[in-house]
Symmetry: C2
Subunit: 357 residues, 2 copies
Amino acid sequence: MCKYELEIVKSMNMKDKIQKDQVPFGKTFTDHMFIMDYETGKGWYDPRIVPYAPITLDPAAMIFHYGQTVFEGMKAYRGEDNRILLFRPDKNFQRLNLSSERLCIPPIDVERVMDYLTQLISLEQDWVPSKEGTSLYIRPYIISTEPGLAVAPSQTYKLMIILAPVGSYFSGGIKPVRISVEDQFTRAVKGGTGMAKTAGNYSSGFQAQAKASKEGNADVLWLDGVEKRYIEEVGSMNIFFKINGEIVTPELNGSILKGITRMSIIELLKEWGIPVVERKISIEELSQAYTEGHLEEAFGTGTAAVISPVGELNWLGRKMIINNNEIGEVSKKLYDTITGIQTGKIEDLHDWTVEIK
Amino acid sequence: MCKYELEIVKSMNMKDKIQKDQVPFGKTFTDHMFIMDYETGKGWYDPRIVPYAPITLDPAAMIFHYGQTVFEGMKAYRGEDNRILLFRPDKNFQRLNLSSERLCIPPIDVERVMDYLTQLISLEQDWVPSKEGTSLYIRPYIISTEPGLAVAPSQTYKLMIILAPVGSYFSGGIKPVRISVEDQFTRAVKGGTGMAKTAGNYSSGFQAQAKASKEGNADVLWLDGVEKRYIEEVGSMNIFFKINGEIVTPELNGSILKGITRMSIIELLKEWGIPVVERKISIEELSQAYTEGHLEEAFGTGTAAVISPVGELNWLGRKMIINNNEIGEVSKKLYDTITGIQTGKIEDLHDWTVEIK
Ligand SMILES: Cc1ncc(COP(=O)(O)O)c(C=O)c1O
Ligand SMILES: Cc1ncc(COP(=O)(O)O)c(C=O)c1O
């Protein structure tokens, strides 16, 4: 008998809530987690909130061998009025389904899962930190669990949601980062899985990131896999440039992630009347703009940092210092506006936030 | 205290040994499995053979989120004289280390692990089937186990080896397969992870395989990710063509797997004085050769089938029937020779086989 009603099993052993400003990212988890199972023919069943605990899988489970898995990343913010707000969570679950389609994973019912998430966060509300810049990171993910070594989609899956209180990304004020352009390794290519949030896309970047980090860079800027010329994105961020007054960001070409922060920024810029275009932009063009003094700002965008200014860009030995290694005007305005909306300090005119009651 | 001596915990609950000719691939496992742990600073420790059983991991374990994992596939064969033989297992463990390097996973000591594998198979020797074409499939794999959501290499890993008796790939004689050329999706690209045996490379092919299968194809032939012209490999096989008396196989370009069957075939062909070249070959060139009547044989090569003749190749609506949909002369000779060496029927002049005592 499959159950479709949410079951809640409360933990008998609650942890100390973390309210510190500085906690390592994604190392501490709350008391409970959400799990739901899938089986071909049955659909998604047995949604449940249970104490956070290890899970048990057959050693032949598909996730270990062929990597059929997708995930999402979003945050719950505590407003000054103590309300708990999510930022465009429907977009995350819609993107989860898009990623799933690419990996031949069955879709979830976005509304139902939104409801389960709401109940989970409601139960864990004391875990949502309140200091500026802190939040409760939400990690939904689906893993393939069927035991079997045939190279074919799994017939069983688990959707899990785990929650981690996270400190502020920028402690002591926003600090521009140093990024290097990766000219050897490739993250993704047309026809591949670059537009999906799937595990393999991330570990494949470790080697390039280690190389960049050795040279003092915080992350890498990926180029396209075909010509190794066109700018794609940063590790877990989309990228924007302000060139001669215009904001430019790489177009969605199938190999970069459709960031929800990216989407929101484009909407805001358009409303503000600041010119913004999504198009191909080559690293040569960027370097040329820099030489001519037209590269005015550069910033990564994503759930983790919202806006992460790029202060220094390294490409084949060339060091480009952008905006004196300081946060730019547009970057700052975007950061203040989006974090303001996320925490309820600025009125949400877009219906972007969802309150957890 | 870390242990480096192999510990063996025997199962109290032995399963029925499977000796049937037809078992679904990778669905039944033997009584025991091998596990060894890794931790930065400690190295690989606690090697153990324990009853085959589910494993328990933190829901935040890296494998579930960023896909840092590698695997191998090899077989133990039962000779007519009842000996148990492995085929070039050192090459598999060397390739595991190559894959690990790409994924920032620490290397294993090939000799030590060969010793553990030998003891595992020795314990499970009754599981090695004896009917023609059957074998014991060996799946070594490494998964990243550290709980944490930061996008960075794990500090802890598990090396596991599981064993599955497998039926003969071709029941009722070798049957050529139908393959379609994939012109939309991409498996791998230069600078990516194509030359590594890592999970993400396999699930990323599911969508293309489903499409091909709908049209009655057994698998897809991948083209390069840059120009979508040059032939790379089939799902889990390298590919060879006989064109005008010469054997041609795509060169190792960083995006295809360095198959051990491929390597062995090239050595044999050279010894036999049959011309063989590793080079770029475009799908247009192949189609042209077909038109001119020069495409004499085509076959996939890999541990699963050893040689899998391609009887029909479909490309953009063009149906190429190769060698009357029958196995070719060279394909047959290679199949007989390699399977002969693997099972000890043909004298092993290359030191390719390793006997399990
Ligand atoms: C590869 C990649 N690009 C971009 C982003 C930014 O997306 P979002 O703004 O939805 O967080 C992320 C993080 O989710 C990512 O993993
Ligand atoms: C992608 C891929 N190519 C080729 C092969 C063939 O390699 P091998 O001959 O070592 O089995 C395999 C299987 O291991 C594979 O997974």
